[in-house]
Amino acid sequence: MSNSKARWDAVTAHSLFWPAVALVALLVANTIYRPGFLSVEMKDGHLYGSLVDILRLAAPLILVGLGMTLVIATGGIDLSVGSMCAISGAIACLHISQQPDQNALSGVLVALALGIGLSLLLGAWNGALVSIIGIQPIIATLILMVAGRGLAQLITEGQIITINSEPYKSVGVGYLLTLPLAIFIAAGVALLVAAVTRRTALGMIIEAVGGNAEASRLAGIRSARITFLVYVISAVCAGIAGFMVTANVSSADGNAAGLWIELDAILAVVIGGTSLAGGRFSLSGTILGALLIQTLTTTVYAMNISPQTSLLFKAVVVIIVCLVQAPAFRARFARRRPAAPAAPTAADQSKEQVPA
């Protein structure tokens, strides 16, 4: 009894427990509303279903969230990722639109390389502003958040560039081994980022810099380099997400591509248990957070909630998840309810409040 209780306590204390509960609750709610929600069927060698859609549509957010996680772990923030999406998507689409044969693989590869190259450059710009010049991250990246939209407009010359390129389109809606290609790309980048941070010492050093910058300096860490690097990684992740966003609709719109994705990404990071103050970070938490947000968006559409109230609905769910996650809130909530006759502890009380 006490053994299973201890195990249960350990599970609920895990930082990803409540987001996971919220995700399951959302899926259950959807299934009740629409019994066919969970079904996945095979058509023409492709898997179709709401779950597959959620994974595919969450891919750009997962990518942006991964980079954002590292930036936030150093105690910074990157507001420019939405504009980065637009810029890399725009330059890639522009290059393809100028090709005589838009379906030629070589042209598409050059387009992708151009987008990534530009992202690297812009990430270096952000990194330099923050680590070398010492501008506060929120201001430094605000510059590209605003100016980046203009840059994307310049690239597209104020038009929406429409392309007709099968290889490029497949980045967004193509299939590989019965599943959307975007899922593989997101998974691949996630594994790469995980390997780069956890197989090397980068992750620990990022956490040290974010956890205590002065102690890290006195331990001999070159924190400027680390800070620079995370902004570059974030920009590249956003650039790849930009390909997906534009490939989904086979067009580059400097104004709309990746709009407000930075806010969803920050949210995904926070839901995933990484503190905005920096320090310990969790990549898997961010992925879970991104899936939760995308599920929420899908739910809003599936339940035909009117567009006027959908944002409000989203906000309410997010507030609940964030509150339930906060230990201080849970403790308070537990205290508010008087102990049951058998006098279980406060911890017993709190875990009975399963949310949503």
Partner: protein
């Protein structure tokens, strides 16, 4: 003065915090028109006493009488309204508001709906003129020097009709001329009948301005003395005390022949190293296998010397050499590159990363030196961490728990382990035994002896003289941000002699930096 009534009487004040008796039956009297210095080392209870007086803390026992009335304030605002104003060490004003706004914030002269700016500026000018300070009160406070900001804080304090003015280390960031300016104002206020409590770590300043001195030690009152009747040496003795040595007896540092030790090329030489506003230029040599003790009161410049040698602060004066060859120690990375390690006295803010595990904290410096692309293999990490968790008896012995969950002594050992695995040639320990229990203290002292026997140079900083005397081959005495003298720790040196040096200083003061 004895014929007059005290403006403030505190009787048998006691205050406990969990596990600590911060004040134990302390009496304190303050007369109108005097500057009264409140003295004591770290943890003596000075700030607790002041916080009890101003109502920041509620006292457990005792009485406070202000001008014959029994009082018990619930907070600094109420205390200020009753005439007890405090000016803190860190100027707690708003640098982004104007001087006038700072003086009148929260009690601006106003009409029904608006602030009367003209009136406010005029009154601010008058008030500052009283302190002989003629500045533009519409300028932002941040545009003035710290000294002027300090005066503005005082102007704000005395405008609230202060009868008692508490100055908590007001001079720690001021230079000599600024201190003199402050003293002139303090004398003027004293002559107007205001009673001033002056907290400082600078002995010269106490003798320059204070009429009487009250000394606290370990939460108890040592005594109250007229300044003229308490020589500096007696004051230092009363502050430091001859504490009973409860530590298990540690063999006196084998007094190896200092001459032999110092015959070799010194590991580190600092020549006229200094930093304005931090520590006056000093020269110091440290040899392999030598323990150099740095003695002095809090605020004497001990920590500043350590920070300059490690490059934590950048020196703006002087040269350094390692192994006889010029070497710039401009930042921690450069110092670490020369095999210098530094355990800061502020373990939490400048040492450990609280949320990282014991293991990660231990390998942090080694990993930083290798760069993030070459991680220390996990097996090697575990070996090293295991070895030092055992060798230093770090408790609990689980290297995967966050270091913030460890006690102070164990955190100190983790910090030590971090540097020991990098095999430094010079280990700088700033107050490594502060705030840790007796057992851990003895272990760390033993470790210092072992390390120096093994050829490591150690710069050992401690407020506890006994400890410095027991461990050091050579003792360097700091006083008022200057290196006063260097003593070979032979049989002629004892606590009295070092105290005398700390108290009086045998060093001729150079020109002000």
């Amino acid at each position: 003065m004895s014929g007059r009534q005290p403006v403030l009487t505190m009787t048998a004040i006691s205050k406990s915090f969990p596990g600590v008796r911060a004040l134990d039956g302390v009496d304190f009297r303050l007369f109108p028109g005097e500057v009264h210095a409140l003295m004591g080392e770290n943890g003596a209870g000075k700030s607790t006493l002041i916080k009890v007086l101003t109502g920041v803390y509620a006292h457990d026992a005792g009485d406070i009488e202000l001008a014959g009335q029994q009082v018990s304030f619930t907070g600094p605002m109420q205390a200020a309204a009753a005439g007890v104003s405090t000016v803190y060490q860190e100027v707690n004003l708003c640098a982004n508001l104007s001087v006038a706004e700072n003086i009148f914030i929260g009690r601006e002269p106003r009409t029904l709906a608006a602030i009367r700016w003209g009136e406010m500026r005029r009154r601010a000018r008058d008030l500052l003129a009283r302190l002989d300070l003629h500045i533009d009160v519409t300028q932002l406070l941040g545009t003035y020097s710290l000294a002027v900001q300090q005066m503005v804080a005082i102007a704000r304090a005395i405008d609230i009709q202060a009868r008692v003015l508490i100055l908590d280390e007001p001079t720690s960031s001021l230079d000599a001329t600024e201190v003199e300016q402050l003293f002139r104002i303090m004398r003027q206020l004293r002559d107007e009948g205001i009673a001033i409590i002056f907290v400082t770590h600078f002995l010269d300043q106490v003798y320059g301005i204070a009429d009487r001195i009250t000394v606290l030690r370990n939460g108890r009152l040592v005594g109250e003395y007229p300044t003229a009747e308490l020589p500096q040496l007696a004051l230092v003795e009363k502050m430091i005390g001859k504490e009973l040595d409860v530590l298990e007896s540690l063999d006196e540092q084998s007094k190896r022949d200092l001459a032999a030790l110092e015959a070799s090329t010194p590991f580190l030489q600092a020549e006229e190293l200094g930093r304005k506003g931090s520590v006056a230029p000093f020269s110091l040599t440290i040899h392999a296998g030598e323990v150099v003790g740095l003695a002095g009161l809090l605020g004497s410049g001990r920590t500043e010397v350590a920070r300059l040698l490690f490059g934590a602060d950048r020196a703006d004066h002087g040269r350094t050499a390692v192994d006889g060859k010029p070497a710039s120690l401009r930042n921690p990375i450069a110092a670490i590159g020369h095999d210098i390690a530094f355990c800061s006295e502020n373990r939490r803010t400048e040492g450990l990363v609280g949320e990282l595990s014991v293991r990660e904290n231990i390998i942090l410096a080694m990993q930083a030196a290798r760069g993030w692309l070459r991680p220390v293999p996990r097996r090697r990490q575990d070996e090293l961490v295991d070895k030092y968790v055992k060798a230093l008896s770090i408790r609990p012995a689980d290297p995967e728990i966050p270091v913030r969950n460890l006690s102070g002594g164990n955190q100190q050992k983790v910090l030590l382990a971090r540097w020991l695995i990098t095999e430094p040639r010079l280990l700088i320990l700033d107050e490594p035994t502060r705030g840790i229990d007796v057992g851990a203290k003895a272990e760390i002292q033993k470790l210092v002896v072992q390390l120096s026997d093994g050829g490591m140079a150690v710069l050992f900083i401690s407020a506890e003289l006994e400890e410095v005397l027991r461990l050091s081959h050579k003792i360097v005495v700091m006083r008022d941000r200057q290196l006063v003298t260097e003593l070979a720790n032979d049989h002629t040196v004892d606590a009295d002699r070092v105290m005398q040096t700390i108290a009086s200083g045998t060093h001729h003061e150079g020109p002000e930096a």
